[in-house]
Symmetry: C2
Subunit: 257 residues, 2 copies
């Protein structure tokens, strides 16, 4: 059973996951981050030690959860595992294959919570799906058990599936949020509070619980209402990047019909 | 006070608005649609008469609500108002100015419910913001009163503001929904149920109740994680339209930072 955990990383994922693990009775014993301030802040929150040097990372934890930007993970990996070859390492990256651990370690896996984490907002882990993968059956069982403490939605996913899950999540979350951001930019420019958009945003999200998104589509593009589309393109003439996105997304909507 | 209403149009907006008006104690006396089937279906639902000819539209209603595609509204307008010059006409189109009525009528306005309406899904009008505009004070008062029966969120908006509201709504709703649809396309191709994406979608929508969307942004584009972005672009090589959108939206996210 996993009890003593070291967190490698102190960003949004590490912060929320660390708090949730502590809340579920795990013992986060140490936080590593290159940035002293981040390391201290999260360690303090979790009543853990902190270190800013890879050499200072403890060797006695049941599990090492690596929640770093992909490029940092790749760069740090050889140093992280050095002297800890018998330890159990997992990463939380949607887009990284499990095999990055292969050859370095005997016990490894992936522990991917598919959610959007911002420092300023608490996350209800009970609604977060976890996608787990492991090098061995024992490790898989341990990961499922650990994820199960945080959420009822625990799925096995291969690295191949997770790659596409991650792209799908970028569209459904990051890109959808950017559409909100572009909407907010328009409203701000015309002195209309973003608040008026919230019930539309909520309903758009709720609809796809009942209808497949392609069937839930409404608006000028799906009707191919050229009058409206052209008027909108004219109105966006002073923001060419938004104008281009408007045109390309409208075409993509109509094409899918 | 507005009691007897004629609905011009039998699409999604007319259908939902008609039901809500009936529920609020108004009397929808007639439905006009070019398509007999649509006219009959909605008239039946609202216990109203129906007509498929503009000449058959009654002349004794307190209000005519025109919920047509913009191009149809422009085309039909002269015929709709003919012989009904003293009647009170409103349209429900976000992108159409109020002035389309000017010169034809003495009593006119705009009654714009900003929501995404699909036939298959019931709408809770209590959460729908209404944006109203009218040619005169009396008409404005009547529209506010009518909208107030359906929703507590009634705002005055000029045609100029409504133009931008509508573009903002296209981004926040139609385009956000298309991001869900593209996400669903990826998942379907890899035999992953769309359902796993729902809690991420919900959280993304909920976040912007607390944080401005630009501050809520997460994912590879805002971090400019080139490793992930390039890997995703490679994985989308067989769907060039999605690949192009991925690249352009990522750049737009990073630029806004």
């Amino acid at each position: 059973m996993i009890k003593k955990i070291v967190l490698i990383g102190a960003g949004n994922v590490a912060t929320h996951l660390g708090s949730a693990l502590c809340g579920a009775g795990c013992d986060v014993v140490q936080v590593y981050s290159r940035t002293k301030e981040s390391a201290m802040e999260l360690a303090d929150k979790l009543s853990a030690e902190y270190t800013v040097s890879v050499d200072g990372i403890r060797c006695d934890a049941d599990m090492y959860i690596v929640a770093l930007k992909d490029s940092a993970l790749q760069e740090l990996l050889p140093m992280l595992v050095k002297g800890r070859e018998q330890a159990f390492f997992v990463h939380t990256a949607g887009s990284m294959p499990m095999d990055i651990w292969k050859g370095y370690l005997s016990h490894y896996g992936v522990f991917y919570p598919m959610q959007t984490f911002s420092k300023q907002r608490a996350v209800d882990f009970a609604t977060v799906p976890f996608f787990v993968e492991a090098g061995g059956e024992t490790e898989l069982k341990m990961l499922k058990e650990l994820a199960g403490k945080l959420s009822p939605k625990v799925y096995e996913a291969t690295s191949e599936q997770r790659k596409y899950l991650h792209i799908a999540a970028v569209f459904a979350c990051n890109f959808a949020n950017h559409m909100y951001a572009l909407s907010a930019r328009i409203l701000e420019k015309h002195h209309i509070p973003f608040e008026v958009m919230l019930s539309l945003i909520d309903e758009t999200a709720k609809k796809v619980h009942e209808l497949p998104p392609a069937k839930a589509q409404t608006g000028p593009a799906i009707r191919y209402d050229e009058n409206v589309i052209n008027r909108h393109l004219d109105l966006l003439a002073d923001v060419p990047d938004m104008q281009e996105l408007y045109e390309k997304i409208s075409k993509s909507i109509y094409k899918q019909k």
